[in-house]
Symmetry: C2
Subunit: 363 residues, 2 copies
């Protein structure tokens, strides 16, 4: 079992990574600190698999648990479902001293974090991420949010959980495609921060794909460490934190144009990473060899590196300009200079971007 | 013109109080700090009166202004209208570096503050309050929010504006009933914090009722000072800040039971203050004489001190227990010990509360 602290002053919190520990979550929460009424937000699939384990543990610790089940899928991460969660919390009588639990992937985590952040102007919440993507990414860093027809995560808050409880055993029941999609964000940490980790992922491909618990724990812990380090230095994304968006400027545009349904987030990020690496090459930052190394690693983990159907480059560009990472219509890109190191720039011309978008769509 | 600073570290901001200054708001905003696209949120009445003044000033300062007009009334301060504002901001292309302006009363201020706090995880906003209530209360302190069928302000955030711009001239066009309702919160500051101010309000009743600008500026400034002082010491309502809720525990229950439409907020607070003063007397805290002084001052400003129609005491109690100020079903009351001084207590029995509710409803 590994632990790490995300240092954010009075908003600091602990991430715990281990296995076979879902049924001990109740013991982690100090009952004196909270009102007895709590909500457990999850989706039908995760609920069937792990709902009763978590619920029993919370009940044993003295909580009255209201289950709030929201449908599974990025398309339900919206304002209306956030309102549903808030309404259920109100009906159940949760108060300002209540804590809520998010059990599931990024959708459940993001929307529950958002609901917690605006419920009676903010109550505590605990993340219990059950997908690889949410374990290495969305449960760390306090970005909460829901989508809007005009863009992903356009509505949300910066709001830290009080605890992140990661049980790698939950990955056993995760569909293989989702596990692979999660690897996109894992590989991202190698590219933006830790060259050694990139090669660790290359060397341990088979162990990771067969989900050896020790290797998984080590891998997930390293991702959380990197993210925690970045977030601690820049909680509200004034500067450094933007490097976590590597692959996401183009990735989000792909998701927007395909209605959030065709690709999993990680798959879109995989394509985004390679396209942005190509852009870096075009800008003379990254070598052709390293672009190829990245392509190989992504493909080695079974990930797509280009969309199957042509997407209009013009529409991609438009979607990127409305993205909330853009400022006054000017896009910012995170471009690798070498594997393990990136720079942030908004000095890329639309022409070069279009060139990359055009080029790669003909793959 | 008076100024004061609300000291909240990096979230500190300035409140400016004066007259004839709506058309200079644009000059107050540093154009280098913000994207050119901005939104001006207001309601139809205020828009007709002051919309173009503010808009012209912002345009002169280089902003592209999108007008967002929401209907007037507490019943529209809800999640759906917040979504409308967010959608308009997105369509207009506001980005993370945009600033939005709330021009109107508490409804416009609260919902715009909420929208700003969750738009792309939080952008800056400016309050331009145009009602007495919002000038002395809701625009200071960073409480944002919307109502829910199960309770007032149940959804919201703590999120500070970057500037509060108070022009007392706007009170000239305020319906007299609303001006009087605002006086409830003004009187509240006297009761909870400043005995001298209570008597200032008694002495200057005629000047205040005839809206002499100098007296109004002085009065509003003192209210903002007191609120700023309290909020600076306790931004997130851990302790002291709760004293601002004097009159609100019962007041909110009255609003809930009458569907937010029968009474203006200040009117409900007026009744709440007197009922809670009676409760304080019953608990042996406040003298009968001071309760009478309070009643006289409230009535002197034309405010109701008891509901016209009987409200069920049992239902009042239920509404008070679901209120977000309650913790684990236990209500907290702010009770005056004398005019100018209050204490916070949750040691009041339901019996005593019912006794007060019963007694005063027969007035």
């Amino acid at each position: 079992m590994g632990e790490l602290m995300v240092n954010l002053g009075e908003r600091s919190y602990m991430i715990v990574i281990g296995h076979n520990m879902l049924d001990t979550i109740g013991e982690q929460i100090n009952p004196d600190r909270y009102s007895p009424k709590t909500a457990l937000v999850t989706n039908p699939t995760v609920y069937r698999l792990y709902g009763s384990k978590v619920k029993d543990s919370l009940q044993k610790a003295g909580f009255e648990v209201t289950e709030v089940i929201i449908p599974d899928g990025e398309e339900y991460k919206d304002f209306a479902w956030a309102y549903y969660i808030l309404s259920r919390m109100l009906s159940a009588g949760l108060d300002r001293k209540s804590v809520v639990f998010a059990l599931g992937g990024g959708v459940v985590g993001d929307i529950t974090g958002f609901a917690a952040s605006v419920y009676m102007r903010g109550i505590d919440y605990v993340q219990i991420p059950t997908t690889l993507l949410s374990q290495v990414d969305s449960s760390v860093g306090g970005k909460t949010g829901v989508n809007h027809p005009l863009g992903k995560n356009m509505i949300g808050t910066f709001y830290q959980p009080v605890l992140v409880w990661i049980d790698v055993d939950t990955l056993k029941t995760l569909p293989h495609r989702e596990f692979l999609a999660g690897m996109a964000e894992v590989i991202k940490y190698g590219v933006i921060w830790d060259r050694e980790f990139f090669y660790f992922l290359k060397r341990n491909r088979e162990k990771i794909l067969s989900q050896e618990p020790d290797v998984l724990e080590q891998m997930i812990k390293r991702c959380c460490e990197i993210k925690a380090e970045v977030v601690s230095r820049d909680e509200r994304e004034a500067g450094l934190r933007a490097i976590l968006n590597y692959g996401h400027t183009i990735g989000h545009a792909i998701e927007t144009l395909t209605g959030y349904t065709r690709y999993l987030h990680g798959e879109a990020v995989s394509m985004g990473m390679l396209l942005e690496a190509e852009l870096a090459r075009l800008e003379g930052l990254l070598s052709k060899e390293e672009v190829e190394e990245l392509r190989e690693l992504l493909q080695g983990y079974g990930m797509p590196v280009a969309p199957e159907n042509r997407l209009s480059s013009e529409e991609m560009l438009k979607a990127m300009q409305i993205d909330k990472k853009a400022v006054a219509g000017k896009m910012r890109f995170v471009l690798p200079e070498k594997i393990g190191n990136v720079r942030i720039t908004s000095e890329i011309t639309n022409n070069n971007i279009l060139k990359v978008l055009d080029k790669l769509q003909s793959f």
